[in-house]
Amino acid sequence: MTELKLDTPWQRALEQIKTWARVNSPWAIHYNSGSCNGCDIEILATLTPRYDLERFGIKLQGSPRHADILICTGPVSLQSRDRLRRIYEQMPDPKFVVAVGSCGISGGAFQGCYNVVGSIGEVIPVDAYVPGCPPRPEAIIYGVVALLQSLQKKPAAPAQPVE
């Protein structure tokens, strides 16, 4: 869809407000596509009193329709490959993906296993990787906040459809 790029001050101001809102209230949804749930309990730990993601406005949502960020873990087992793609397509634009854990980057300890695709990047476009097995809650928070800051510079391009 070609967006009519009006560069009037009103348009720029509106764009700034939209980016400010997106950066300050990123709702997340979590999907474990085959991980050993080490990363998943660290993601849940970020919601609890000591780390408390709600300070940054990040709320874990249940339905893909309500979410902006897909926090995905695990080396994408064959069974959950097209589920992952379906969830990604159910999310409204603008959407982002954070791959948590070294399994999502390169398959981690399960490289070469017969039922594993290997990395999340092969299934859906990923915006931020958080390495670690499992990464500490601080690292996960840093990854999501870094993604938000990168939004500050360039406003979100509409995601290209996944083939």
Binding site: N37, A45, G62, Q79, R83, G108, A109, G112
Partner: protein, 366 residues
């Protein structure tokens, strides 16, 4: 357990992605109104083929892999694999290493049960207990990190012993943490047994009588909450449990409330055990040398994971790679009890009943 899908039945699919499930699995509850009439589960979303991968890795690499079967009970898998390999090689780890292994597995039981207490309360909509129990769990995670260097997948085991020692400074930190947790445990026990709305959600829900428990074959706290006295630490003590005996905690409440009570009492028992281990930590070196090539042999090793009896069958063929590693995790046994007991209860009870057996999908999909 795929029951026939008759068209007029209203089927509620709780799919791979669902806020109640921390890990993917596909449940289909056939419902009329709010009452569940049938339940079926499709696992396999987290299957990575670890048993096949273990055959292509030598023993130390296998230890690294087996720790990542499940993130919550990683030490127990590594302990079982290490004990099994030592049995294959007819080697016994030194007593100090055995005691440190038991210390770590009891700390892991504490953090796993607290994690479960939070998630089960969250399933029932009691978010405050979720937040409180996970806040207190951070103390155990700090202790584990101080002792082993990592919060999850602490890999303190090596084949033949342990890597890190327990210095006096760590000992005092653990004892201080245990005092704090003991107070919290009594608080949780009172909350779980007196809070009216919580009792409304757990009393007489998901009842499994003793006879059903014997036929459906659950293991661990789910079985002990229905009066079945099975606990590998008591039945066939392994590692340090020989010199630090555990007293069995059984409750014949048979319902979800009993499962909460059994697990909280188990945490109190773990705290007592940790204190006892730290008082009489045996002296000696930490590990013993194990040859790279393990002679041809075949063993069965059973270990008590936080969720129940973990069963390892290992077969070596003289090379430095195992010929067969069979991992039967406790969650696999507990599934039969959930699926057969679900009909009759309300749809709103399903997340609580599922959380009652503390399912770990990465454990049972391997």
């Amino acid at each position: 357990m795929e029951n026939p899908e008759s068209p007029q039945k209203f089927v509620v699919p709780i799919g791979p992605q669902h806020p109640a499930l921390k890990e993917p699995a596909h449940f289909e509850f056939s419902v009329d109104g709010e009452i569940v009439t049938g339940a079926s589960v499709r696992l396999g979303y987290v299957h990575r083929g670890i048993e096949k991968a273990a055959e292509a890795r030598n023993y130390p690499q296998g230890l690294y892999l087996v720790e990542r079967v499940c993130g919550i009970c990683s030490h127990v898998h590594a302990l079982s694999f290490a004990l099994g390999t030592e049995k294959l090689a007819k080697v016994v780890a030194p007593p100090r290493a055995q005691a440190i292994r038991v210390l770590t597995s009891e700390l892991e039981r504490l953090h796993s049960h607290m994690l479960w207490l939070g998630v089960a309360a969250h399933e029932g909509g009691f978010d405050t207990l979720f937040m409180y129990s996970w806040r207190d769990r951070e103390t155990v995670m700090d202790l584990l990190e101080q002792m082993t260097g990592n919060r999850v997948n602490y890999s303190i085991n090596i084949i033949g012993g342990v890597k890190q020692d327990v210095s006096d400074e760590i000992k005092t930190a653990i004892l201080k943490g245990m005092d704090f947790l003991e107070g919290r445990m009594t608080h949780y026990l009172t909350v779980v047994t007196t809070d009216e709305t919580f009792l409304g959600r757990t009393r007489d829900v998901g009842v499994m009588t003793r006879e059903q428990a014997e036929t459906l074959g659950p293991v661990g706290p789910t079985a002990r909450a229905s009066g079945v006295p099975i606990d590998v630490r008591v039945d066939s003590p392994y590692a340090g449990y020989v010199d630090f005996p555990v007293n069995l905690i059984v409750d014949d409440g048979c319902d979800l409330l009993a499962r909460f009570v059994v697990r909280i009492k188990e945490m109190q028992e773990s705290i007592r055990l940790i204190r006892e281990i730290l008082d009489h930590l045996p002296e000696g070196e930490l590990a013993v040398r194990v040859p790279r090539r393990i002679p041809e042999n075949e063993i069965i090793q059973r270990v008590e994971a936080p969720r129940g009896e973990l069963f390892y069958y290992m077969k070596s063929n003289g090379t430095d790679m195992p010929e067969r590693v069979k991992i039967r995790t406790p969650s696999l046994c507990n599934w039969a009890s959930v699926i057969n007991l679900a009909p009759g209860y309300k749809l709103a009870d399903m997340p609580m009943i599922l959380a009652g057996i503390d399912p770990c999908f990465s454990c049972n999909d391997r």
